[in-house]
């Protein structure tokens, strides 16, 4: 009951129930002002709905440009399950994105393998071991990390990581899965830290106190109490990180080597779905098959990230309901 009293963000239904008088309806007042206000309220409503319009708009326009191929000439099975991507061939045009999907997948998986432990570890550190100034500073630095533009990351990938990876891993080429994954990990960690920290903050202190009172160590508290009760939030954090990694463009375009390839090791170059669009869209003439297929790849990306984000959202919603 007490918790209700200090809740600061009521929904409007709650407000209406809580305050029987409610706000005064505008039409009781002078007509001109009332109309102005009514117009304004409609404007506000319109803006509120705009997000839906934009999502549909994106879907509609990307679909519209790609529809000709998607429902016509494109054999979807061959599109998804062959690896030959030769959109500009003079003799044998082939649109297969399997290698690109594997490219995106491999970079994303490796990025997550690096980012998840570090992101969640940092979230635990920030939430459980820090307080006051240190905590604020760390959070700010991590937030700044999130602000670095992806083209700058890509530049770092080419100019800093490339020679470094060649040197450290004895790789024949420094632009590869590992390079892209390291950049993506650094890029997606901030979102994981901030969502993960929120999830850990939501675990009631009484749980921690109970664990300590029972004599468990910090490790045990984290491993047995915090992680299980925050697991949905942490899952959402990971999913959002995945969404970011799949959709990232410039950094992977510059750092993964942009090579159609089925990687055999993390030191092989690959090419991703996003990078392919970025590299080829500029030169594909509007309306051509190649152009349309690039939009079909866009639809594919949109669909993947849509479901990843939807899943993350449902997971978050699940926590709120608890």
């Amino acid at each position: 009951m007490e918790e209700d009293a200090i809740k600061v963000s009521p929904t409007s239904t709650e407000l209406a129930e809580a305050t029987p008088s409610g706000p005064e309806p505008p039409w009781r007042r002078r007509p001109l002002e009332a109309y102005a206000e009514l117009a304004l309220e409609w404007l506000i409503r319109l803006c509120g709905v705009s997000a839906i319009l934009f999502v549909f708009g994106i879907f509609f326009f990307v679909f519209r440009e790609g529809a000709g191929m998607l429902f016509g000439k494109l054999d979807l099975l061959r599109f998804l399950f062959t690896k030959e991507w030769y959109p500009t061939s003079l003799s044998n045009v082939r649109y297969g994105v399997l290698a690109l999907i594997i490219g995106t997948g491999s970079v994303t998986v490796l990025a997550m393998a690096i980012a998840v432990p570090f992101g969640l570890g940092a979230a635990i550190f920030v939430s459980e071991f820090c307080s006051g100034r240190v905590k604020e500073t760390l959070k700010i630095v991590i937030e700044l990390l999130a602000a670095i533009p992806s083209v700058v990351w890509g530049f770092i990938g080419i100019s800093v990581m490339n020679p470094l990876i060649q040197e450290l891993f004895d790789a024949s080429i420094g632009l590869n899965v590992l390079n892209g994954a390291l950049l993506l990990a650094l890029m997606s960690v901030p979102i994981m830290v901030s969502i993960g920290e929120d999830a850990l903050k939501a675990v009631p202190d009484s749980h921690r106190e109970a664990a300590l009172a029972l004599g468990s160590t910090r490790w045990q508290t984290i491993y047995r109490v915090l992680l299980p009760s925050a697991k949905n939030g942490l899952l959402a954090a990971v999913l959002l990180g995945v969404g970011r990694a799949v959709g990232e463009t410039m950094a992977v375009l510059m750092a993964t080597g942009h090579s159609l390839n089925i990687p055999r090791s993390v030191l092989d170059p690959v090419r991703t779905l996003t990078a392919t669009i970025a590299a080829e869209l500029g030169e594909a003439s509007v309306g051509s098959d190649h152009y349309q297929v690039l939009f079909v790849i866009g639809i594919l990306l949109f669909t993947i990230t849509f479901f990843v984000n939807l899943a993350a959202d449902l997971v978050v919603k699940g926590i709120k309901k608890q």
Binding site: E33, K83, E84, Y86, P87, T88, S89, L90, S91, N92, A99, I158, N162, P163, Q166, D170, A171, S172, I173, G174, L175, L253, G257, H258, S259, L260, N261, P269, R271, A279, E280, G282, E283, A284, S285, V286, H290
Partner: protein, 295 residues
């Protein structure tokens, strides 16, 4: 209360009108003649150098250069958004057809030449390569995959495998290389590294001992070296240079084109004749390309 609302309304109006004002002001600021110059990434540096030098002699003309590729430029020329299309290749049949339909058959102007050099790492002992060998390295069914098949061992390379550096599949350089080296009806071998710019190709080859790549010879750095290219396996190899490209003894060189619509505006033709004049051609050489031979 109502005063507060008034002020808020004023504020929002002011923002809106400021935005509106900005638009009209900006539209008014861009007086003078404009040339939209769109196309080949290979030529973009050159086009930019021309634009810059021309701005110094004809400040009333503003030349706007953008890259994107030969295809982009030609498409823009056909749909009327470009005054000049830069291209490192001629029009493809499909493009020509579209241009005919739009009644905008482009006029071709050769503005210089580019020698496509074959780059390897500076420590690579290989000196010469034939077109046939290049094709075997790059083509889809090509047989050569390792340096030992070319009879060399590259010091510093992590493996014997040839790292093939190429360009993205719709650049003019890619199309030219495919047509004249790989084979008209062939495609590139799976797994090449397709870079976005000529500079990226050369930089990557310079950092990767086991790599081979192709790019305009003006992009050379101290970390790479040219291979002599021969037409046949045992033929004499030729290094790309101003001389060899101009006298056509270097086998992989290409003209660089600028296309204009059928009846270009006066300031566009003026610009083109300046480009082919001595002043314009001096810039070609300074940018690392090959000027039109005199006479």
């Amino acid at each position: 209360m109502s005063r507060l609302r008034l002020s808020l309304l004023c504020l929002s109006l002011a923002t809106l009108s400021a935005a509106g004002c900005k638009k009209t002001q900006e539209a008014g600021a861009g007086q003078g003649l404009r040339i939209q110059d769109i196309g080949s990434d290979t030529m973009v540096n050159l086009a930019q150098a021309w634009a810059e030098a021309y701005a110094a002699v004809h400040p009333e003309v503003s030349v706007e250069v953008s890259g994107g590729g030969s295809g982009v430029g030609i498409a823009a020329l056909i749909n009327g958004t470009a005054d000049i299309a830069n291209a490192s290749r001629q029009l493809e049949p499909a493009e020509l057809e579209r241009a005919r339909q739009a009644r905008r058959e482009p006029i071709e102007h050769i503005v210089g030449f580019d020698g496509l050099a074959i780059y390897v790492h500076k420590n690579n002992p290989l000196e010469q390569i034939s077109i046939e060998q290049l094709s075997q390295i790059y083509a889809e069914n090509g047989k050569i995959d390792s340096w030992s098949e070319l009879g060399v061992k590259v010091p510093g390379a992590k493996s014997d495998e040839i790292v093939r550096v190429s360009r993205q599949n719709n650049s003019g350089t890619y199309a030219y290389f495919r047509e004249h080296v790989v084979g008209k009806k062939s495609d590139f071998k799976f797994g090449s590294l397709d870079m976005n710019g000529s500079k990226e190709v050369v930089e990557l080859v310079g950092r990767t001992p086991g790599a081979i790549g192709y790019s305009g010879f003006g992009y050379a750095t101290s970390a790479v070296k040219f291979l002599r290219v021969s037409k046949t396996k045992d033929g004499p190899g030729v290094l790309p240079s101003l001389q060899t490209v101009q006298d056509k003894s270097y086998p992989i060189s290409r003209p660089m084109f600028m296309f204009t619509p059928p009846n270009p505006a006066r300031h566009v033709t003026d610009y083109l004749s300046w480009i082919t004049s001595g002043a314009g051609q001096k810039i070609v050489e300074a940018t690392g390309y090959v000027p039109l031979s005199k006479g």
